[in-house]
Assembly symmetry: C2
Homo-oligomer: 303 residues x 2
Amino acid sequence: MNLNEYIELINKKLDEFMPENDFPQDIFKSMKYTVTLPGKRLRPIMCMESCRIFGGNIEDAIPTACAIEMLHAQTLIHDDLPCMDNDDFRRGKPTNHKVFGEANAVLAGDALISFAPQIILKHSKNLGTEKLVKIMEEYMQYAGAYGVIGGQVADIEAEKNWKNNIFGLQPEELLEFIHTHKTADLFRLPLRAGAIIAGASDKEIEKISELAQKLGVAFQISDDILDVISTFEEMGKTIGKDSNADKLTYVTLYGLDTSKCKLACLLDECCDIIKSFNIKSESLLEIISGIKKRVGINDSLTR
Amino acid sequence: MNLNEYIELINKKLDEFMPENDFPQDIFKSMKYTVTLPGKRLRPIMCMESCRIFGGNIEDAIPTACAIEMLHAQTLIHDDLPCMDNDDFRRGKPTNHKVFGEANAVLAGDALISFAPQIILKHSKNLGTEKLVKIMEEYMQYAGAYGVIGGQVADIEAEKNWKNNIFGLQPEELLEFIHTHKTADLFRLPLRAGAIIAGASDKEIEKISELAQKLGVAFQISDDILDVISTFEEMGKTIGKDSNADKLTYVTLYGLDTSKCKLACLLDECCDIIKSFNIKSESLLEIISGIKKRVGINDSLTR
């Protein structure tokens, strides 16, 4: 499947998995609103492609893939809250709390954290209980304080204090921590889960984790770059907030040129890993080309 | 074990299970703060007692019991937020957002939702994957939009609108829905999970669910009564908010006397169920006596 076919399938499944008329409707409508906003669906695609790379059936990965997109939506809902980033727009539409109110947005996010694994448990019984337990372990690890939430906490703290070596970390180390957890962990989860569904070996799972780390950091650098060079129309959210706020980002720390070079380098390493698997993934390569194109990396910067 | 011995054991285990120096410390400290506030520990006691009633080893239920207390703490942290009930005190101490700020409180709650099952998965491997999957299913059901969050959404909505038959429900039906989900579901989860750990039959699990429903509604009625007749010192939180706000509660709907009668009646039914099990639970009976004493139900109201 190419990326567009994947996106179409994932959107259809997300629509099926998200009820809108269950009681009380307010919460289910609010959950569904953000989950089904148009998006690139990178994380579910990664989950299904990782499953395919290691010889699994992508059908088996659909519930987990969609669940991880729900978790991603949860992080967006809560990150946008007035007490966090206070954003009014996401993916070109009003943010969840703007539409449903702040209390509902908090609760919709809360509900998605447990709804997503419920979808996995309900629709993946054919995987057997051993794989299900492994997937639950991965989900809880990367969804929580050791994963994406730890990254978000450090990010919020860094916004105010990064020049003061908070947490005893140098700014470079702090930025690495934030990118690893806030972004790469939500790539690690689908790539590892897809591999587990396919029955990959521990060594294979480690290798796909390495890809997740590089791709996650690359993606975050590209986001930091786009925040400087892009427009609201292109991004669908308020732009320039990070640089305006003198926030800790790759660009504020290393400058635009070095950031682009680092990004190009990481993306090349990702390509090498992807090409090393027995089964090739055109879709993952396409994702990497897409990142290059968005930030305007031309071939002179890459091999 | 009597209630005090249970509380001591649970407090010790909660302290062990909750790290405070993991990175980033802010989030782990914030999570631990609310989880370890002194409390009655009703839900973990229920989990361990249910396990014992059905012939299980209470040691096996400790991680799940503690995890459910963590989930309970999560609901308290988010319910107290400015955008929800906006409470400054909980269990006699400043609420989580008062101590750690609103963003951290939202994230600490989020993190507890996935940290709690992580504790179960990590410390209950001896149960085997089949039981673990069942416990995960129960947890996700009652933690989410079909459980305690559904109850909270309806409760918030009811605060403003209950006289207008919101959701197409009569006030009596709406109140029943709120009590069932906001309170009874967090009794159902530990009682059912304890039974599952012990390997109870489906019929036994149904029976303990019935106890959960009655005890949950009874507990909520007692809370509604106490909100009218109690003081801040006794409750450790702001008192009289519900009746002042003309909120939908058992007392505003049926009056104080009818509420007390209904409560006495439910508690008697709970005692009957508890006494019908082969293994008796003095602890659960003690919890019921405690509720009676708190609201001043004397023997003339009960059999």
